[in-house]
Symmetry: C2
């Protein structure tokens, strides 16, 4: 496991942030189509996708959510965190080989419940492609 980082509830602070980059390779999009069973031709059929407003194949929006989840699990709060909710609005479509930066920023911490609120932004080349809010329960420091 390389994703074994944990930032415990007691060590989190508002404003803390984490960025991680992911590439929307052809292989990633095809694998995501298989595992999600979402073979929408805009994702997997170049000839069809060329006829759409996107002018080519695009990544699944849900793949951005998957990468947000990976970034949460990867370090903010990391291993042991429990996903409570996610909202996400899609602004632009991710194309093949786009490098997507996922940025998380802590905006609220509820010490009693352990619920941490994060803004979640997916961007490409500095432009926002999707944004939303996640709530996660952060693990507490072992006593």
């Amino acid at each position: 496991m390389t994703d074994a980082v944990t930032v415990y509830l007691e060590d989190l602070s508002v404003g803390q942030s984490l960025e991680r980059a992911f590439t929307a390779t052809n292989a990633a999009i095809r694998a995501f189509a298989d595992v999600s069973e979402d073979h929408n031709p805009v994702h997997v059929d170049e000839a069809y996708a060329a006829t759409t407003p996107f002018k080519g194949r695009i990544a699944h929006g849900a793949l951005l959510n998957a990468w947000i989840s990976a970034t949460i699990a990867g370090g903010l709060p990391g291993r042991g965190s429990i996903y409570v909710s996610q909202s996400l609005t899609f602004k632009r479509a991710v194309k093949i080989d786009d490098v997507v930066t996922i940025s998380l920023t802590v905006t609220d911490i509820q010490p009693k419940t352990g619920v941490v609120t994060l803004t979640t932004v997916a961007s490409v080349g500095g432009k926002t492609y999707a944004k939303g809010v996640a709530e996660v329960i952060a693990p507490r420091k072992p006593v």
Copy 2:
């Protein structure tokens, strides 16, 4: 393509619904971990997962979002629909081999913009495991 169904904006109505079932197989969870790069041990490490409140490995919450997206693309509104937003709150954890039913129901249609609002529910054995709201742009009937 088996997912080539389209329900055009003009043929959608409030209350219309679609259900589709997906199984959280070990293979699906491992494939999702690879494509999302989310190797949180609660998803992939049985020994670690046994020590958590879940008492075993669970599916990624983002996999439920992927299946919601697949159900939208698969028939409501189907091929050609554009994902605008998704919110999802996780209530219970999906375990290995759980059969997850995704239920979509149209709650609002905006004829001018083409934006259709759907409730999105993931359930196992009749119990709600996750629920939220999706907005999608439905394709219009070719003139």
